[in-house]
């Protein structure tokens, strides 16, 4: 495993003023990465919680840390990664040189990671290990509209990639706020088994209440029994949000690797 004993890692999350589960996965991934002692220091910051992105400007003020990797724990590029994070962290591009000489390296959001498709498939498999995938519909849930980002496009992109693998009978995008809606699952699918994976960073109101309500299942089932919900003669297997997967710790680390690899590549003529 790589060692970055003189680099620091800053993981940027959205956080929430109402949902206590929002920042939990980000904090967990940070704790796991810290445990591995790859970086000299690991910290988180949040748009809607403390420490704020502005607070993070005061972190890593340590002469022994020449570089800081910034990894957005977001599903897609969009308003937050392009506008809010650079503004609040005073980033001027992929690499920002601070007056102290420290360099802040702005990595791509976790949702862009090339292994995301594999993670979604693994989640889908783990929640329904015994079923035949060919006779199963896989629904990837995105937020859709209203949110000022490209998460719907990112979810679409994942569905296309999974579909191309020809493993599941059907692979579809469904959304909370735009058609095809989660609540149309019965119309959209024909198979006996339906697996639903939220393409979200954390569990919270959407995945604990909104999606189960739209599916017509009891959300508590998912946590307690692990057994599928039976509805209209179908079996519904509902997974937790993709971002709660412990593998996200690896994804975050690998985003810093990718950044480094890309910067090392010879620049193209443009």
């Amino acid at each position: 495993m790589i060692s970055r004993s003189n680099s620091a890692l800053l993981i940027v999350g959205h956080g929430s003023t109402v949902n206590p589960d929002s920042s939990a996965p980000t904090l967990k991934h940070a704790a796991e990465i810290r445990r591995r002692e790859i970086f000299a220091d690991v910290a988180c910051c949040f748009w809607k919680e403390e420490p704020s992105l502005r607070d993070a400007l005061l972190f890593f003020r340590d002469g022994t840390i020449p570089e800081v990797y910034v990894v957005p724990n977001f599903i897609s590029e969009g308003y937050f990664t392009r506008t809010v994070i650079p503004r609040e962290l005073e980033l001027t591009g992929p690499e920002t040189h601070r007056s102290s000489g420290q360099i802040w390296k702005y990595c791509e959001p976790v949702g862009n990671h090339r292994g995301m498709t594999e993670l979604l498939l693994r989640r889908a498999h783990d929640v329904a290990p015994e079923i035949s995938e060919a006779e199963t519909s896989l629904l990837i849930v995105g937020h859709g509209t209203s949110l000022n980002d490209n998460s719907a496009a990112a979810a679409k992109h994942q569905v296309e990639k999974i579909r191309a693998l020809n493993r599941y009978g059907t692979v579809l995008n469904v959304y909370l706020e735009e058609p095809p809606l989660v609540s149309d699952w019965l119309k959209l699918t024909e198979t006996r088994n339906v697996v639903i994976v939220p393409f979200f960073i954390s569990d919270g109101l959407h995945s604990d209440e909104d999606i189960p309500a739209m599916l017509g299942i009891d959300a508590a089932d998912r946590r307690s029994t692990g057994a599928p919900s039976q509805l209209h003669g179908r079996s519904l297997f509902y997974s937790t949000a993709i971002g709660t997967d412990p593998k996200f710790a690896d994804v975050i680390i690998e985003q810093t690797e990718t950044f480094r690899a890309q910067r090392l590549e010879p620049q193209s003529a443009s």
Partner: protein, 222 residues
Amino acid sequence: MNGLAQKIALAKWMVAGLRRIGQISITVRKDGAFSLTHREDTARDDFTAYSAVEDAAEIARFDDAGKYRPLKTAPNLRHGWQLMIGDLSGLRLALDLFYPGRLAAFLAEENGLLETTPLRESLERQSGMYRAAAKIRDEEADKLVGNFCRSDGGCLRTILWKRDGEGAIASTQLPPEKFDPQHDQTGLAEAVVPLLCQEACNLLVAEARKMVKSEGVASPAE
């Protein structure tokens, strides 16, 4: 490894007797371990015992009534727990989960490197749904900060920022000690590691926006 500068500073603060931070009391035990409790709990012994650094995040997440605490420096830390921590690295991480970012802010201040941002500048910088917050009038901001940031029931931080670039006080409705890092904002009058506020938090910005929006409905002539 791991935030060396902060760890050295923390050790110094412990030696200097700064063993209170916000609502937390830190006891240094003979074996070098640290015991953390709520400051109002030092006399009790019916604690729920915790020993993992990360438990700090769980303890800090909900208040006594089980309600989510969106502002970690609000004076509503729950009671009835004791967190045992083996070493200084752990103490630093735990305090950073209880009061995120505050050690870094105090250290920067001690080193004369803490820059503060006037409220107007924080508001002007906003985009998207928060852009409207900048329309708040001075009198309204004065009232809002006086209420929202007050140590008694609002937030235990020491305010270091000004209302504007001219240096207007953040709020005339707050007592002078709200701006004094030496002052123990809990009112218990002990030596503390202060919880510094160098720039308005997102919650205050959101409140400013709310004020502007509600006014838009209430007084359309404005």
